[in-house]
């Protein structure tokens, strides 16, 4: 079968290209695009890869997933999508295996005790598994497309007339959220510019095009202005398992200021940003890019004597967050663990 071999090499080339794109990561990619690309790549692996039964397929997905996540640990979306696909495979296998729907969720303590640690071995080959899994992934892709709209739909419940909203940097989800609210209500938005990359400028431009009253201010003014603000609405890169955020740097300042003034802090984030990881130093979610933006390379002599850092993300602890708005509704940070267990299988938390 020369065709298969050719497809195999084509596939590995595509994976390679994706990995190097992730690694390059110069232009900040949209999480949604990354999620979609990961899913389509995984779909290709399932369709063209060599595997006989579910267990083998899961190993295949896992090894490829490990490579992709290792390429850019800060892009947690990739790992999340891999976990979602693994979960899909488990479910489809379970259905074919004749297991009832109810048993696959979190087993009760009693059941866990009585089952005697019998784990599934996924070794029975089912010819229809491939088609079923691909079908389920297609559904996932469709779900992805609607996420931003679903979040934006809830805007009117949270933004009221004549409110002052503060946000930081640029988030597509927040942009859609505010624009949706602006169709019915009048309110004012203050955007922290989010130096050194100043994505806030872009946000302000886009919002003011929709006739939203927008003010840009420097990050240093966050605390001073906070007393006038009714709500803080932000986006995020990742939601961690404990309900904390990995968000654009400056967010922690914002969250602390909001806490001090008891201003509610609302995070708009689709479900695919939920990542079953806990914050710790070794996993290096953080990302330090070239210090060029902080102190330009052209500066000359001073550079030899200074250390310049340019972190991209901030860690925001869960107690500073009031509410998460995801595509399936609003949730408190303390509820995140539950959502997590619905989305991913506990065995897949560690890839």
């Amino acid at each position: 079968m020369p065709g298969a071999a050719e497809r195999g090499s084509e596939l590995s080339e595509q994976i390679e290209a994706f990995v190097s794109r992730l690694r390059g990561g110069g232009q900040r990619p949209r999480s949604e695009d990354t999620a979609r690309q990961t899913l389509s790549l995984l779909r290709k692996i399932i369709a063209h890869g060599r595997w006989g039964w579910a267990g083998e397929l899961m190993d295949l997905i896992r090894t490829e997933g490990q490579r992709m996540t290792a390429a850019q640990p800060s892009e947690t979306t990739v790992g999340n999508m891999v976990r979602r696909v693994l979960k899909v495979i488990r479910e489809e296998y379970g259905r074919l295996h004749g297991r009832s729907e109810e048993s696959d969720q979190q087993d009760s303590l009693h059941k866990l005790l009585t089952s005697g640690g019998l784990s599934e071995d996924f070794s029975t080959p089912y010819p229809s598994l491939r088609a079923n899994v691909i079908e389920a992934i297609n559904e996932l892709l469709i779900e992805l497309e609607g996420t931003t709209d679903n979040i934006a739909m809830q805007a009117l419940e949270h933004i009221h007339s004549n409110e002052v909203i503060m946000t930081i940097g640029y988030s597509r989800t927040v942009e859609a959220f505010l624009k949706e609210a602006a169709r019915k209500r009048k309110f004012q938005v203050i955007v922290a510019e989010c130096a050194p990359f100043c994505q806030g400028h872009e946000m302000a431009v886009r919002l003011s095009k929709e006739n939203i009253e927008t003010t840009v201010m420097s990050d240093a003014a966050i605390f001073a202005v906070m007393s006038r603000v009714n709500k803080v609405i932000i986006g995020t890169k990742t939601i961690l398992a404990n309900g904390a955020l990995i968000a654009v740097s400056g967010t922690h300042t914002l969250a602390l200021a909001a806490k001090h003034h008891s201003t509610p802090l609302i995070v708009c984030a689709p479900m695919f940003k939920l990542s079953p990881q806990f914050p710790n130093e070794e996993d290096s979610f953080h990302k330090f890019v070239s210090p060029q933006e902080v102190l330009p390379f052209t500066e000359g002599e001073i550079l030899a004597k200074t250390n310049v850092h340019c972190p991209v993300f901030d860690y925001v602890p869960p107690e500073l967050i009031t509410l998460f708005i995801s595509n399936i509704g609003g949730n408190a940070p303390s509820y995140i663990y539950r959502l997590m267990s619905e989305l991913y299988h506990p065995d897949d938390y560690e890839l």
């Binding site: 690694r23 330090f288 052209t298 030899a304």
Partner: protein
């Protein structure tokens, strides 16, 4: 002795193109990577390991270059190796570049015969490896540039101006005094700010004054910018003509001269990083830039080489740790430290701004500041190392102190209890005769000579050449910017006197070349190539070149005729030569100023040889008939008034006047013809 594969592939591609002339997909972007520097800046380190494989933050330099090329969209790279080519080849074959999934196909061309970049370019042309514009880099460039914009500009220029522009050099903005600015590579550039054309390129070489040709400011260009804030990244986008017709040579001295009427353009980047590691100071600077993440995304923890042994975790203060690193009790990694896989560090060490390779053993109470340790280095207790390079498998014994800018090359054993003074270089290889052999042996008593073959040579002179910042340079650093004197009339003795010698030597060389050409019947094209490379080697300007060439050719018959000076004989000897070498002249004489220069040279020659005066008309006639010189210019030259008495006498020569008269008539006729 080129790799067979590449030659074949080149031919195959040519054939394929021939069969499908209609379809014209954009040709894949190609690159030529020269994995040899053709100089000895890294001696004695480069004796054991080719420069392209020297580890920068534990990754070979050539990997950075290849990653840069791949990231920028290059699909085919030709790696030219010379020194230790087998090692480079082996390294690359093990790397991810030779896997089938690599988007960048790497091909090897090896030959021991390359002596300069010019040789390589000639070979590129001879094997017709490149099909369209290509990127030319050396194997020691670290960069995260994306050249696609420069490439587009380059292509656009070539479309607009019919291939006049032969190359685009890429520069990085960095103000004077920057640590990544290499003293040797410090340049002053005059450019046309409208078109980004490079008008003048000069190394500062520590000079305080610079001379710019007046023509720079007199011709039609509106805005001439003179810049001293640029760093040559040694990345250039070249047209295929570069290799065939002209070979602009980024030779080891790196003088970029302007090519015969062709233009060089430039592209300046501010955001991205690009540096060329030309000496150990640059090695240190670029290494620390990598650790400080200036070259993002080419940072150590990204593991872009996809090598299992190269996975690092990055934590605060730019500390990178490999797998299985053990750090003793009380040891501090302060900042900017990279530690390779399997390295064991003892207790109470203090390490900062350093790179440590794989499987190193470091004892207790060791202080490392700005140390670059390669793989398998053993360091005993109580050692202090500052700003030094320690190569593979070196053993440093107890209580050794290394002052800044020391180099210990592979397998050297030092100590115990010795202090190496600043700029010491220790190697197993004796410095060659060419090196200044001022061997100041560090006293052998303090050096443990366990292995008999271990020779310790501390040539502090070569050390300071490699590493030390000459005091003179650093003093001038601050002033050099303000002291740009442009077109200054004051003669600069330092610059002028060696230049004259250069011209003499150059003239002799050209003469030799032509003699060989005459004896061995070498074709004119090859002569042009040789003369071109000589021109670059001696940094001769085009007008000087013209004068020298004319003079040499006119003097040529004199040598054959010995003392038998007779204008008749002379001319009959000259005629066939001129006929043979017409293409040579045509290659160099393009603009009217070139014509004039040639004429002046001819005039000068005949003034020196009075007895031959009579044949000047004949010579000019021949030049005219061979279409080397144009009649306008000859007339123009003839009517020049401000010549010496001798010149006037020469112009009174009957035959010459007749010739001029004839020319004038001919011109009138032709202009009459036009009017009809």
């Amino acid at each position: 002795m080129a790799a067979r594969g590449s030659a074949k592939r080149g031919a195959g591609a040519g054939g394929a193109r021939g069969s499908e002339p209609q379809e014209e997909p954009p040709p894949p972007l190609q690159a030529v990577l020269v994995a040899d520097s053709f100089n000895r800046r890294f001696f004695p380190i480069s004796k054991d390991r080719p420069r392209a494989l020297l580890p920068m933050a534990n990754v070979a330099m050539i990997d950075y270059t290849l990653e840069f090329l791949t990231a920028t969209g290059v699909e085919e790279t030709f790696v030219f190796c010379c020194w230790k080519s087998a090692e480079i080849k082996e390294h690359l074959q093990r790397s991810k570049w030779c896997r089938h999934t690599s988007p960048n196909t790497v091909r090897f061309v090896t030959s021991d015969l390359y002596r300069s970049l010019g040789d390589v370019l000639r070979d590129v042309d001879a094997k017709s490896l490149v099909r369209s514009d290509f990127i030319l880099v050396t194997g020691d460039v670290v960069s995260n540039l994306n050249v696609s914009r420069a490439l587009e500009e380059h292509k656009l220029r070539r479309k607009m101006e019919k291939n006049v522009s032969v190359m685009t050099m890429i520069f990085k903005e960095s103000s004077p005094g920057h640590h990544a600015r290499c003293k040797e590579d410090d340049i002053v550039i005059a450019m046309d700010s409208a078109t980004n054309r490079v008008l003048h390129y000069q190394r500062t070489q520590g000079l305080k004054r610079f001379r710019f040709p007046m023509s720079l400011f007199q011709n039609s260009i509106e805005n001439v910018e003179v810049r001293h804030d640029l760093l040559d990244c040694h990345i250039s986008i070249c047209s295929p003509q570069v290799s065939s017709a002209h070979q602009r040579i980024l030779n080891s001295i790196g003088v970029a001269s302007l090519i015969l009427g062709n233009q060089i353009h430039m592209h300046v980047t501010t955001e991205e990083y690009g540096a060329h590691i030309c000496n150990l100071l640059m090695y240190e600077a670029v290494c620390s830039d990598i650790i400080r993440r200036w070259v993002y995304p080419l940072t150590p923890e990204m593991n872009f080489t996809d090598d299992k042994n190269q996975s690092y975790t990055h934590s605060k203060h730019n500390i990178y740790r490999g797998v299985d690193v053990s750090l003793g009790h009380g040891s501090m990694l302060k900042e900017n430290v990279l530690i390779g896989q399997g390295t064991v560090i003892g207790s109470n060490c203090s390490i900062m701004n350093s790179v440590i390779g794989q499987n190193c053993r470091i004892g207790n109470e060791v202080m490392l500041d700005g140390a670059f340790l390669w793989d398998g280095v053993h360091i005993a207790d109580n050692v202090q190392i500052q700003h030094s390079v320690i190569c593979d498998e070196v053993e440093v014994k107890e209580k050794v102190k290394l002052k800044p800018h020391c180099v210990l090359s592979s397998q050297v054993v030092v100590g115990p209890d010795i202090t190496l003074s600043e700029g010491t270089v220790i190697s197993l290889h004796p410095p060659d005769e060419e090196e200044e052999d001022d061997d100041q042996f560090s006293d052998d008593s303090g050096v443990n000579k366990e292995e008999s073959k271990v020779k310790l040579k501390g040539t502090s002179i070569s050390g300071s050449m490699l590493l030390g910042r000459p005091a003179m340079l650093s003093e001038e650093e601050s002033e050099s910017d303000s002291d740009l004197s442009m077109g200054s009339e004051e003669p600069d003795s330092r610059a002028a006197s060696p230049q004259l010698d250069d011209i003499k030597v150059f003239q002799n060389e050209v003469l030799g070349t032509l003699q060989r050409g005459e004896e061995e019947n070498i074709s004119c094209d090859n002569l042009v190539l040789e003369i071109n490379s000589l021109k670059y080697a001696y940094n001769i300007s085009l007008s000087e070149m013209m004068q020298v060439l004319s003079k040499v050719i006119l003097e040529f018959p004199l040598q054959q005729l010995d003392a038998n000076l007779d204008s008749q004989n002379y001319f009959s000897a000259l005629l066939p030569l001129l006929k043979n070498w017409t293409p040579l002249f045509k290659n160099y004489i393009k603009r009217s100023s070139d014509h004039l220069n040639a004429l002046f040279a001819i005039e000068e020659f005949f003034l020196e040889h009075d007895s031959l005066c009579t044949s000047i008309a004949k010579v000019l006639m021949t030049f005219y008939q061979l279409e080397i010189l144009e009649e306008d210019v000859i007339l123009n030259w003839f009517s020049l008034r401000d010549t010496s008495d001798k010149g006037k006498q020469l112009r009174k020569n009957q035959r010459l006047q007749k010739f001029i008269q004839w020319l004038e008539e001919a011109e009138e006729e032709s202009s009459d013809g036009d009017q009809d």
